[in-house]
């Protein structure tokens, strides 16, 4: 069953058409990869789906709900959470606070209940912290709970960013170049992490340049080129696709 359906997505920035008539489907609990050369429109596609930019045309269905006209925080509320291509964390918070911040939607945040039912909030906080420990373990940051996020190593910050997204308990997790800047060991760990996430029933959509990562985790791959969908298929099919090899895979050195 399709959990997400993107139809005829078009996004223009003035004269630049970043996405043109892009359509694809994401099935429940699949891992879907979006690949393509620099500037192909992958991030723009994420931004349009997640309501970070207003699409020029097109429709996005989440389940059978039309989310085309919703904005970012509403879409997050429905269960689609994305990470960013650049590392995006709360730098002055500890790791634990970063994850707790990600649980915003699960927490009671009304002004009146905060002031008048503070005891309840404190109890709730303990429950959230327990859940946060699980997420911290999942993204392999156990032991770093009290470290200030900005002091973490780059690779740890990338994992934390994924942890924040996981903390929202998404149905669909969208990762924009999660392997960017990671070394070989870290990328391998990332692959394991993505598989772990998938095992919990979360659907994963990822944009990625690291072909090893894409080919090893994805069930389905969508190839964008100059804003248009050029090909779609399983990793095996994409590897054999001549058009893809010509414009993209051929330039990959490894």
């Amino acid at each position: 069953m399709a959990i997400m359906q993107v139809s005829n997505l078009t996004k223009k920035f003035g004269g630049v058409t970043a996405n043109k008539n892009v359509s694809f489907e994401v099935k429940e609990n699949q891992i879907v990869g979006i690949i393509g050369p620099n500037g192909a429109g992958k991030t723009t596609c994420f931004n349009s789906i997640c309501g970070f930019t207003k699409k020029t045309e097109g429709q996005v269905l989440f389940g059978d709900k039309d989310i085309s006209n919703l904005v970012h925080f509403q879409i997050a509320g429905l269960g689609i959470c994305r990470t960013f291509q650049h590392t995006t964390i709360f730098p002055e918070f500890t790791v634990m606070e970063n994850i707790l911040a990600g649980m915003y939607l699960k927490a009671e945040t009304g002004i009146f209940s905060t002031i008048f039912k503070y005891g309840k909030i404190v109890k709730q906080e303990q429950k959230l912290e327990e859940a946060a420990h699980k997420i911290i373990k999942m993204v392999r940051l156990t032991g770093k709970e009290n470290s200030i996020a900005k002091n973490l190593a780059y690779g740890q910050q990338r994992k934390l960013a994924i942890g924040i997204a996981l903390a929202t308990s998404p149905k669909v997790l969208m990762l924009d170049e999660p392997a960017a800047g990671l070394n070989a060991t870290e990328s391998k760990e990332l692959v394991e992490l993505i598989r772990d996430v998938s095992k919990t029933g979360i659907t994963v959509v990822l944009v990625e340049h690291d072909m090893k990562v894409v080919m090893s985790v994805c069930d389905n791959i969508i190839v964008l080129n100059y804003g248009e969908k050029m090909a779609e298929g399983t990793p095996a099919e994409i590897r054999k696709n001549e058009k893809v090899i010509e414009v993209y895979l051929g330039t990959e050195t490894d």
Partner: protein
């Protein structure tokens, strides 16, 4: 850790409560009252400046509306202090909501300018709406509060009244900032884009914080009016907005205690320099500049060092 903080808060409150036993004379105690009122104003500003990263130059507008609303309903409609304070909260809350709603979409310096424009408009209305505000002459004979027949007419009793109200507000702000709601304020300060992506309605949250902050500033204004019993449109002048901000920055923004310390310094300091009015602003500016250069996190950073890292509340992001 948390317990330690609780104890230091209680000790601090005890010291404040005992202060008037050492500092005698109605003039000196008047300074203490002014300090407590400024502490409330700084507390309110800190909520948005320190915890949310929104720079408001217009809190004198709410301070002034608080002072005038409370005074006018007492003088013209025969309200006593407590119902007047309640009404003031509502009025300032509604105005804060409106100002917040329209200015929040502006960013950075444009937001600051729009809040400044707001407080100037408030001041102009107070100056020109002669039939209600009596213009530049201001209002006088504002009654002192009473409580079950007890009149807060002495400096000592008024000081305790302000400290009690300040303590309640301090506690409320503490609760807010150590809750998930307060964490969302700090999230917005830290990273707005990420806050959107985890489901925070940033605009709504900013308006909420701004409204709460405005209401607290309104309480400070009301207490100011009923203490001095005389007010003029200058209560909404830029002076109060700026002084409030300086107190927050010098004391330590984004810390609970910082504004209280900032308020203390900037009410005591002017007293030491009372003879030289001109010098006052220069010293203010100098202290501000020196703090920004040498103690970017305010005087609280010195205190924090001496307490060690334990002063950090577990539930609170910095």
């Amino acid at each position: 850790m948390v317990k330690n903080k609780k104890i230091s808060n209680i000790i601090l409150l005890a010291i404040i409560v005992l202060l008037p036993l050492v500092i005698r004379g109605s003039y000196s105690r008047g300074i203490l009252i002014l300090w407590a009122i400024y502490a409330i104003l700084a507390l309110s500003l800190n909520l948005i400046v320190g915890y949310m990263g929104l720079l408001s130059f217009g809190h004198a507008g709410f301070f002034g509306i608080g002072a005038y609303t409370s005074a006018l309903v007492c003088l013209n409609l025969g309200f006593s202090f407590w119902p007047a304070l309640l009404l003031t909260l509502i009025v300032v809350g509604v105005v804060g909501l409106g100002v917040g709603y329209f200015s929040i979409r502006l960013h950075g310096v444009y937001f600051a300018i729009s809040t400044m424009a707001f407080s100037e408009i408030v001041r102009l209305i107070m100056t020109n709406w002669m039939s209600v505000t009596r213009g530049p002459m201001g209002l006088n004979d504002i009654p002192r509060p009473a409580f079950f027949g007890f009149n807060f007419s002495s400096e000592l009793s008024y000081f305790y009244l302000v400290v009690a109200i300040a303590a309640v507000l301090y506690f409320i702000v503490h609760i807010i900032i150590s809750s998930p709601l307060g964490r969302s304020f700090k999230s917005i300060r830290e990273n707005q884009e990420l806050s959107h992506s985890i489901g925070i309605d940033v605009a709504k949250t900013k308006v909420l914080a701004f409204t709460v902050s405005a209401m607290i500033a309104g309480v400070a204004g009301s207490l100011y009016a009923h203490y001095y019993t005389v007010i003029a449109p200058e209560v909404s002048g830029l002076f109060y907005s700026t002084v409030g901000l300086i107190m927050v920055i010098v004391g330590g923004k984004g810390t609970l205690l910082g504004p209280v310390i900032g308020a203390f310094i900037f009410t005591i300091l002017p007293e030491a320099l009372r003879a030289t009015n001109q010098l006052q602003m220069i010293v203010f500016s100098l202290v501000l500049i020196l703090t920004v250069i040498f103690l970017p996190n305010g005087l609280m950073s010195i205190l924090k060092l001496s307490w060690g890292k334990q002063s950090r509340n577990k539930m609170v992001g910095r």
